[in-house]
Symmetry: C2
Subunit: 614 residues, 2 copies
């Protein structure tokens, strides 16, 4: 992507502007509770934003390292949830705001359970829950977890760590209290040491924005694609950030700023707008509550200037995910059909309906799509739901759509999903559940074209009188010969030459000189192109398949003198090859009339389709 896109972006220019404005804000003081932190340059200011698309914006000292401090609490909490599960973690640490300062001890009377994981007591208890694996001690696992969020290997600032360790008497006291209540399984020394190291991990404002972006993006790092946190725990981490992340002004923070956030005394703040972006700000001057003064101000301005708020989300309706709906009376599959087959599809094709979805399916949009489908169900027998452009499905939408599958099967209708290969959980769920009551047969197709062709074949097979699927057809089935008398057909037959091709045999190649057309008498041919070098997977792209009663190569009569695609016999096939220069003059006008008429009708259908699509 063109780098200038970001440079000229409205977002970059906005961040540049608030960076410049905030340089004038000099309130607050650098943290001094441990000596090492006082060495920070109070003038540092870095701002970064990373969107869920993985676009990175940064300005100022966004690459300056500093220690993560309390922001680590949110990440470690997520790792503890992954290690121990919800119940075990909730048994050790609560989720209620304490209404008190970050270093308050706030243990629940009786159980000694810290009120929440964002205060020191809760964070120490959380760190104590991180598992040790045979080949990965807890600290290594913590560093690796942080690295999944930031997308780079993480390191500890050893000087800050020693400084924390030398002065962390209150945290040691907390750990001993927790041990006394049975909250810790390990020695207080061990847990507190881990906690000090975790707080001393070096990050940049860019890292903080990337951490926020992972949480905004359902747990997936939007740049590397790595899962930083299992999606089911993302909402839990964001919940405690929203109710407890900003200590004793969490209510006002959500009310005014409306972004779950976490700050650290190193001067960093990570803020998250779920579904949209992560914001990282670094400026070492802190207010009395230990939050970065400029960091808070940056979050406030961004929220105010753009009216951003976590409760402002995209409505989840069919209008947001339904890309288009069409039926197959007007738009058939790419398979070329005989006139008789086309007549069946023109009359019956409305019984096949295709729904193209796009974007992210949630409960609301899945429900809305379901209603739209069910409300038309009486008029439809085959339904194809195209998921090619769907970028995600949550648990609710999976349940709603798989229930829908069963409702549709109950009604004796067939439903297919296409292009669902990236929606692994959905496919798995369907395999387990939605098949019940469904007739045997495919439920998924690679693409919509194949699914529609399958449905069309059913419709055609159900219509006995069409003469479709016969394995032989005479010239009088050919649209080009529609207006000819028996004698004219005979003279045409004599002008041509019968040819036979074995399965797989090439009839002609793209680029060949084109001097004849082929009427198919029996068998089947495939028209295809080679998608060429550089695309290792799909060399062979089928454009159409043709059967008895159809013609190919005829356009060259009026147009290009070279073949534009390859044609092969898909089974043993018999054709009448007719050289253009052998067509009797008297028949040429009739064939041209038929051809132009046929094309005009095709153009009319295509035009309707294009207007429908566009």
């Amino acid at each position: 992507m063109d780098k200038r896109a970001f440079q000229f972006s409205p977002v970059q220019r906005y961040l540049d502007r608030i960076h410049e404005e905030l340089l004038d804000l000099n309130d607050g003081a650098v943290a001094d509770y441990i000596p090492e932190l006082t060495r920070a340059d109070p003038s540092w200011l870095g701002i970064a934003m990373v969107t869920v698309d993985g676009h990175v914006y940064q300005v100022g000292d966004s690459r300056q390292s500093f220690t993560i401090q309390s922001i680590s609490k949110a990440i470690t909490y997520g790792l503890a949830l992954e290690d121990r599960g919800l119940d075990q973690v909730l048994g050790k640490v609560g989720v209620e705001p304490s209404g008190e300062a970050f270093n308050s001890i706030s243990l629940e009377p009786g159980t000694g359970r810290p009120m929440n994981p964002m205060i020191n007591a809760g964070a120490i208890a959380t760190t104590g829950l991180i598992e040790s694996k045979p080949d990965a001690p807890p600290m290594q696992r913590i560093l690796e977890a942080f690295g999944r969020y930031t997308g780079r290997p993480m390191q500890i600032d050893e000087t800050v760590y020693r400084s924390e360790s030398d002065t962390g008497h209150r945290n040691r006291a907390i750990a001993h209290l927790l041990l006394g209540y049975g909250i810790l399984d390990r020695t207080p020394e061990e847990v507190v040491d881990l906690y000090f190291r975790q707080c001393s991990i070096l990050v940049t404002a860019r890292d903080l924005a990337m951490i926020g972006a992972c949480l905004a993006n359902n747990g997936v790092n939007p740049v590397t694609g790595v899962v930083a946190l299992q999606s089911r725990y993302v909402e839990k981490v964001l919940s405690v950030m929203s109710t407890c992340g900003m200590y004793d002004f969490s209510g006002a923070w959500i009310f005014n700023v409306g972004m779950p956030a976490k700050s650290g005394v190193g001067g960093g703040i990570t803020a998250v707008l779920p579904g949209q972006f992560g914001l990282g700000v670094f400026s070492p001057r802190l207010d009395a509550k230990g939050n970065s003064v400029r960091g808070i101000e940056a979050c406030k301005r961004l929220s105010k200037d753009f009216s951003l708020h976590l409760f402002h989300v995209a409505r989840s309706t069919s209008a947001t995910v339904m890309r288009q709906v069409y039926n197959c009376a007007k738009r058939t599959s790419r398979r070329r059909r005989s006139a008789a087959e086309l007549a069946v599809l023109a009359e019956q094709g409305h019984r096949i309906r295709v729904y193209e979805l796009q974007g992210e399916l949630l409960f609301g949009s899945a429900e809305s799509v379901g209603v739209e489908i069910l409300s038309e169900l009486a008029r439809v027998d085959y339904l194809v739901i195209d998921l090619k452009r769907v970028i995600g499905m949550d648990q609710a939408s999976i349940l709603v759509l798989s229930e829908l599958c069963m409702r549709i099967a109950d009604q004796g209708k067939r439903l297919f999903f296409t292009d669902s290969k990236n929606l692994y959980r959905f496919r798995k769920h369907l395999q387990g559940n939605a098949y019940r009551g469904q007739e045997p047969g495919p439920l998924h197709f690679e693409d919509t074209d194949h699914a529609v062709e399958w449905c069309e074949n059913q419709l055609i097979a159900q219509t006995d009188s069409t003469g479709a699927d016969t394995s032989v057809a005479d010239l009088n089935h050919q649209y080009l010969c529609a207006a000819m008398t028996h004698e004219e057909l005979e003279s045409l037959r004599h002008a041509g030459r019968e040819r036979e091709f074995k399965t797989g045999e090439r009839i002609f190649d793209a680029g060949d000189r084109a001097e004849s057309m082929f009427f198919i008498l029996s068998g089947e041919v495939e028209v295809w192109i080679d998608t060429g070098a550089g695309q290792p997977l799909s060399h062979h792209l089928r454009l159409s398949s043709l059967g008895p009663g159809m013609v190919f190569g005829e356009v060259a009569l009026v147009n290009e003198k070279r073949r534009t695609a390859n044609v092969s016999a898909a089974m043993d096939t018999r054709c009448l090859e007719l050289r253009f220069d052998a067509i009797p003059d008297a028949l040429l006008v009739k064939m041209l009339m038929s051809m132009a008429s046929h094309f005009a009708n095709k153009i009319e259908r295509d035009t309707q389709l294009i207007q429908q699509l566009a």
Copy 2:
């Protein structure tokens, strides 16, 4: 819409199931703090859900009336914000969770400001802020506000009101304390009376779901379309519901259930999943904290079974809102062009690019669309952003897109928005801002076709050598005559008849017998259809406009024998009319060859376009 769609809906069946299961849950007791409430039938259970699409699901006693009680606090808070603005309301009532029970007095030390509007003290202070208008006293205004949410006129249960009033000593005490602190402007008697009446408003579970749906739908009632609450205050009401709505277990509620909610001692609960739905549950048995036992359980099950959570939102990226992108080398406007003009567009059309958006634009998606546009900007001179399928734009996306306008104007490119008529705030903002630096000329077009035609005209006008825009063309410019010699053209001219039409004159009508074709020699004609009765607005739908060098009516030579559209002279126009039966045999084959070839090329382009669109 087919009613059965809802009946068979997975959502209806799910609600039916939890309704049945919850009937077995008989914990808790009907409220007895006022005598009137004890008359409720403890077995009542009504559940309703209303989606942001306005789909209504209900089961059980969903139409049973009961008094709204504390759920009214959220609605009145919204009305107070509209009446007084944010600052004035925040001066009287805070937004921090109190961590205490609903009837706690919880006033801020010193100021006497109630901690939040969801406890009684805060709610009484809030009710005291509702303005009295000359023709609408506060109670009438409150009833009208509630009615905007529910979509029906609201009434008070007079018996419950009197019972509340007779026993509400604690609330009177609170009001007097508030008066003492200067929080109230009116007499405590007056304010408490309003408060008792507000709590005695009769609602059903369906009403509660509708209230929730308004909050989920950015303040707009999804069934009536009425604005229940100005959108900028919706996030404020949801914020206090999320941090304070469930009293002293708000932290756990957000963590576990993840839906802002409010309960009342009448047995009702309203829960909101922003962007998705409102849920209303009614069951009179309460737990010790005054919340409906079955109501809480219904919210919990729904949240758990579908993994619903307010932090689980659709990602806001270009993948969710970009419906398609195309350039006009392959897909031109509906205006029919001469061969010379088409050649210009084939070569230069890539300089016009159309972006079709759909769904709801938020900060994230607007940013992402902006990056996509800017990254290709060097290759494009005209940009058309089609907003026809956009159902909403928030403030952030308006700012980002209007900044984008200016960036594009800075680069000397032209940007147009089409079909933006429903996006009033966006248009207004652009008028005020984005025009700066933009060349004079249109910024909005009614539809994309007209915008693209405008851009095409610019491209064609810039290309001098094309011979386009000449006002006269001879037969040799006609594609049907491309292969003819001078002598053949002369014989064709003699076979035809020159005709002149005045501006506005009808050349033929749809349905007329078709026995000739018309070569345009000068002027311009319009092909159009009447969209017919029942559509009062757009009777005249232009299909195309044609100029010198083009032909119309020619398809009838090979096809229908009736006209399929009307053709009128758009200006004074001269044509050569050629009767089909007058075409010399020798020329017929040439014309049919040209026609079939032309159609074949058109089909190829259309096929490419369809594949691109599909």
